[in-house]
């Protein structure tokens, strides 16, 4: 019954939250990630997002985690990074102690983290090679690729 009431409150918050209203949860029930001691499992509820009680509920979190993960493949590694940041409590909690919903979110967040790390390594290695190698490594192509020359050539900064 308590869980159901909490779910209703969640629904209310969603419904009203869409119009900008934020209801405060019942003081006894707000977990906030580090909630005070209590016997009911509402007080020890952990929130999957980094925003805590202001963030997503657990059902929405799964959908969002999956969506961020899939969209990140469209050359958007920053979405993977956002995914990891957003669901940081999920990443941090150990698999044994986390609630069951986290185990659905966790694979997406883990894979996003790995994807972001791989991409970051690749991109930074390319950028560093470009910067450090310079003309000695690339030849005259370097002058064509570097951004400030390109901006001058194409007149990109002339609009402002």
């Amino acid at each position: 019954m308590e869980g159901q009431g909490e779910h209703e409150e969640d629904e209310e918050r969603r419904h009203l939250g869409g119009s900008g209203l934020i209801l405060r949860r019942d003081a006894a029930g707000s977990g906030g990630g580090g909630g005070g001691g209590g016997d009911s499992d509402r007080s020890s509820q952990q929130w999957p997002t980094v925003d805590g009680p202001l963030g997503l509920s657990e059902e929405e979190s799964v959908a969002y985690a999956r969506r961020f993960f899939l969209w990140g493949f469209a050359l958007l590694p920053l979405l993977w990074a956002v995914n990891c940041f957003y669901f940081w409590p999920v990443l941090r909690s150990r698999p044994s102690s986390s609630p069951s919903s986290f185990s659905r979110i966790r694979p997406y967040v883990l894979r996003s983290a790995i994807g972001f790390l791989v991409f970051a390594v690749l991109l930074s290695s390319w950028a560093l090679t470009f910067v450090i190698g310079g003309e000695q490594l690339f030849g005259p192509v370097w002058q064509d690729l570097v951004m400030y020359n390109l901006a001058d050539k194409l007149g990109l900064t002339g609009w402002v």
């Binding site: 920053l78 979405l79 400030y148």
Partner: protein
Amino acid sequence: MAQDPDSTPSLLDSLGEEIIRIVAPVSACMLLVVLLVSTLSSSSSSPSPLSSLIATAYSDPSSSSSIWDKLSGALLSSLVFVASVTLITFLLVLLFYFRCTRFLKSYMAFSSFVVLAFLGGEVILLLVTHFDFPIDAITFSLLLLNFSVVGVMSVFMAKMPISINQGYLVIIGVLVAYWFTLLPEWTTWALLVTMALYDLAAVLLPGGPLRLLVELAISRDEEIPALVYEARPVEPLPGARRRLWRERRDFGTNSGSNSNPSSLGYMFRQTDERRDFGTNSSLNSNNSMTGEVLPETRLVISEQESAGDSSVSELRAPLLQTQLDSHGEQEIEGIGLGSSGAIKLGLGDFIFYSVLVGRAALYDFMTVYACYLAIIAGLGITLLLLAFYRKALPALPVSIMLGVLFYLLTRVLLEVFVVQCSTNLLMF
């Protein structure tokens, strides 16, 4: 927030926390604009196409002879701008009235994308060329793509971490404000003053477009799709203060003891409004954003719990009545000043504050400090008035007027004094 169990948080803690949470991003936006302006203005010597176009169109060249010519040219261009903004806002009210929400949302997402990608790209390019940073085209385009797409998603489409959402809103404000500082000087000041007056009129007059928009949104209980900065809500205080708000609210609603959390929750709920300021096509025809309109909000408002709204709140009573019954007194006590919603400040306010400070930065840093203090004081006054009147209030007029006044005073009076003192090694 973390507190030790011995000390209860005082009124100052929670009220101060709320004010800090809105003053900090405004200050960050202003700081970034000042940095951008001071870095990039030294590098560009030739007048930008925008300012030269305005100069030729409205005879406001920098080397004009008489002050009256400059003033009239500036006033003319700013009046044209305000007129176009009024038209566009009325158009928005119309669209909102006919519930074209999808169109509005997608349009605003598109305009945010243009701001982030094109304006942001240009500003970053200017910085790169200024510092001769050897980044290559592939990395640059990839990073820019990521930056703008994630920005658009965070502002409009998906629910992202609050800090990322706030950060992107500040960045959009910085970019648009930087673009506005490229206007010639007299035009900028005339524009600021006329926008402040327009804001005052549009929000407070009964026929003003922004007031219509707010009333529509309230009557329908919809959220206007707009660019608005929302500070995080502060944990409410336990104690007598909340009861005070509740009593006041009971005067407004007829419901008496049936004052449901929704009407209580509206206490400091702040809805957004939208105001467009478009890149007027007559101002910049060779700008790629011709006809681009950026709907943004400019107001800090709080909703008033009037008797007319009681019908709306009654409708919501059945939804929340179950919660009331099950949790009883504690639920009502839980809604207080800071908990229900947070302070929302429209992005247009950010932008015009930053334009003022950026333009002050083009003169000297002394004016920057003076204008910054004036704007923050004006913002504080507006928040006070907001707490007092509890209805939609324009955030621009007080701050802009104080800012302009202090800019003039500093430039005319203070600078002479400070320079004399410094050269005689007296102070500073």
